[in-house]
Amino acid sequence: MDSKTEPGGSQPISSVIIVGGGVAGWTAAVSIAHALRGQGLKIIVVDNDAPVKLQAMATLPITLAFHQRLGIDEQSLMRETGATFRLGTQFSDWLKPGQRYFHPLGAHGASIEFVHFHNFAAKARQMGDPTPFSDYSLCAAAAKLGRFTHPSSDPNSILSTLVYAHHLDCDLYAALMRKHAEANGVTALKARVSDVDVRASNGFIRSLTLDNGANLEADLFIDCSGNESILMGRALQVGYEDWSEWLPANRVVSASGPATDAAPRTGVTAVDVGWHQCIPLHHRQAHKFVFNGQQLDDDEAIDAQQRTAGLAAGSETQISGFRNGHRLKFWSGNCIALGPAAGFLEPLEDSGHALLQSGLMRLMSMFPDRSCNPRIADEYNQVTLAEYENIRDFLILHYQATGRRESPF
């Protein structure tokens, strides 16, 4: 019944336009092109994005399955993106100054008698045992020693409890995705979108007009235009659910420092006025300082970052704003938003790339026909929203559970 709502009905999708390159746009392009290779699908990426330079990202373990599905082997991925291994995040000064804890990607301890391990650790602590919880995590212990090996496939080995992901350089990663996408037949157009033609009858996008005058039609549109959200936000007028009431940080300073022989982990340090993240890459260290623009001006933030990260004054920096939250719909009509065009959550738990990857895996497992049945969009929206809310709650917990009371932040 729903399939009859659109002319073209249940014909397969034959053309896709992705607005925006960068990590999101090129990852989307390669995912779709690879999944539907050899089916004559025409994919265009409208890419006028400048390099983001200083940016790096930490990924979650879903990244391994994601790249495996694309047929991108780990060695070349790591070589070409300056990647390092990551076993978790070291949080410093978060509960109170001087205190640390480690959030490993793998589990803590093992259940005893069907009771989850954390209950035993809690009892031991009540009885006066000062052992930190992270001493029960192999990921944490290995990260502390700066060691790494791949997990064992033997379930009886303690090494099978290692769970890992990567740190990646954003520009290098986008370039690698672009290379694979182009090898799979994706076309890049260097242009900007100047107008979007939306069908009044059903809210589907018919075509885009570019600043070079070209007019492009497609069956499916992917909005990877970042904060601008050119299609979903601007053209389709899908609103934004703002979560800054709970997560008030709204600006980030990015910088870069020399590579060190760093441990396989992300570092996050809370300071009075925000928090600092350090991502070790093969060729450099990427730094981010996340803060609230109402409490701190940009110069103070740059200052705070350079102090915390031990960077030389006058190092190159980049400042950008963001709003924690998400589009009210991630999929509307024949348009799907991915990456920051869909929503943004501060990178405290490194969810951004994982949200992109799981969104793409979901999209590929429910790839529509031209009718873009609203049931599929509903399902996609429900599951995606649940992911965002789950991460939001986890992020809020970091702020709520702090014992720090010395600053308004």
Binding site: L36, R37, M364, S365, D378, E379
Partner: protein
């Protein structure tokens, strides 16, 4: 608020729910710290009929540390590979819902999409041809799954049919050995705290008063504590699942027991057939609005193979769920918490699930509301999941041979189920979430079995050439038939591992 440990636990009601709860407490609550009493009356019968289960029961038995073979022989148990549904989508049709995936995903895309494509191209192989346990079940074969993950014989799971009355007896002995105190008697009075309304004590006919900090209501449909005392309220689902009565009658075995439950749709309900070692359990679940009790009894007797060995027993019920399974200091486990007809063999699972959730969020004497809320939320989810799959059986039918089926075909269904169904019908997508009780293969078995076949398959299927798909599918069918044929018969596996003592049927 008193955050101290609660000490006195009273389970009211024996039966399957009561003794499963008692056994779990015996297993994990230190008798030096907790006094657990179970009160049951010898005069009040238990509902437990021949019971069919899903594989989760093995986790519960493993948690208790029961020896599986001993458990089977003590409860006259047989193995179960799935449920056969006869005459549901249409008359004269049959399908099996197994505990195993169908076929094998190819390039990360679900198997059913490949099957769909070939079917659209005229291939006539049935979806069941890609399930090893269905082949085994239909030919009366069973063996334990292989532990070698490379073997096709490792791909299925199994459950049991057993006598729930004997299971309660077995767990009673097991629990009493481990410090659970059984008190015989009928409850005549329940005392509540003046202000909080918490249950403080129960008084028996003998005059004995039993105090408790935590009460578990296992009193069956009536809900002596949760409803008759605490007035918790009931959410009625009979507009979706209109059957409200059952008649149960055991019969003698005819031939070897089959390794599957059978549910045969009739004109105003359905009939179960549960094979045990010593007898066969039969029953007719029906809707009293469309058929009289007498007709219902006749119908079940007409469809039984062996001679009956007891008078038919009539049960009345209302499908739905207690508004809160955990209210104040009382937790309802079993029929007191809610009732769903046994079409998908979930009764014992719902008991087990409540027990394990209670243990995981075990309260202290302060009874923090968060624990009860989370427990109730999770139980609501479980009941809702079972309910929706049950509704699908009734709704997705082409039967038009009675006004009962006309009602079912035309009734409105919960929005969540409608959404799932449309998604599958249009797109072959099983909206499966991690917390779902029934996983993707279960939904596939029921959808396709009931005649819901997707219009479109996943376009990634087209990355594999038709000749390769044809070859892979033929290979899977061949391996399955070959492996199923290599299995021993169900009866011989029982005889070898877990034969029960011969007892009067």
């Amino acid at each position: 608020m008193n955050r101290g440990r609660l000490e006195k636990i009273v389970i009211v009601g024996g039966g399957t729910a009561g003794w499963m709860t008692a056994a779990a407490f015996a297993r994990c609550l230190d008798p030096k710290q907790y006094a657990v009493k179970l009160v049951e009356s010898d005069l009040i019968g238990i509902i437990g009929v021949g019971e069919a289960t899903i594989p989760a029961i093995r986790e519960f038995n493993h948690f208790l540390g029961l020896d599986e073979k001993e458990f089977m022989s003590k409860t006259q148990a047989t193995f179960k590979l799935g449920i056969e549904f006869r005459n549901w989508g249409r008359q004269e049709e049959s399908y099996i819902h197994p505990f195993a995936p169908f076929g094998q995903a190819i390039n990360g895309v679900g198997f059913h999409h490949y099957w769909l494509k070939m079917r659209q191209g005229g291939d006539t192989a049935s979806f069941e041809d890609y399930s090893l346990p269905i082949w085994a079940a239909r030919s009366g074969k069973f063996d334990y799954p292989s532990l070698d993950p490379r073997s096709p014989l490792s791909t299925y799971d199994y459950a049991f049919h057993f006598d729930a009355g004997l299971y309660a007896v077995y767990l009673r002995a097991w629990s009493e050995q481990r410090g659970i105190v059984r008190i015989e008697g009928k409850v005549i009075e329940v005392t509540q705290h003046n202000e909080s309304g918490f249950v403080e004590s129960i008084t028996l006919e003998s005059g004995q008063r039993i105090d408790g900090d935590l009460f578990i209501d296992c009193t069956g449909f009536r809900g002596l504590l949760i409803e008759q005392t605490l007035n918790t309220g009931f959410e009625d689902w009979s507009h979706w699942l209109p059957c409200d009565r059952a008649v149960a009658v055991p019969s003698e075995n005819v031939g070897e027991p089959v390794p599957h439950t059978r549910a045969t749709a009739l004109t105003a309900g359905w009939q179960w057939r549960i094979p045990l070692q010593h007898r066969t359990g039969n029953g007719h679940v029906y809707c009293s609005e469309y058929i009289s009790d007498d007709e219902a009894v006749h119908m079940v007797l007409d469809n039984i193979e062996g001679a009956t060995i007891a008078e038919p027993r009539l049960l009345r019920f209302r499908t739905g769920k207690r508004k809160k399974s955990w209210h104040k200091n009382c937790v309802a486990i079993g029929l007191s918490g809610g009732f769903l007809e046994p079409l998908e063999s979930t009764a014992i699972y719902l008991i087990q699930s409540a027990i394990m959730k209670l243990i995981r969020s075990f309260p202290d004497a302060g009874f923090n509301a968060v624990e009860a809320e989370e427990f109730n939320r999770q139980m609501d989810t479980k009941f809702g999941q079972v309910r929706n799959l049950l509704i699908l059986h009734y709704k997705e039918t082409q039967r038009d041979d009675s006004s009962f089926w006309d009602y079912c075909r035309n009734m409105s269904i919960p929005e969540e189920l409608e959404h799932r169904k449309q998604l599958f019908r249009h797109h072959g997508q099983v909206a499966y979430k991690k917390s779902d009780l029934f996983n993707e293969p279960s939904w596939l078995a029921v959808y396709i079995g009931q005649g819901v076949v997707p219009e479109h398959y996943d376009p990634r299927v087209n990355n594999v050439s038709e000749s390769e798909i044809r070859q892979r599918l033929a290979q899977i069918r061949q391996i399955i038939q070959h492996s199923a044929a290599s299995l021993p018969s169900h009866a011989s596996t029982i005889a070898r591992h877990c034969a029960a003592e011969v007892m009067a049927a």
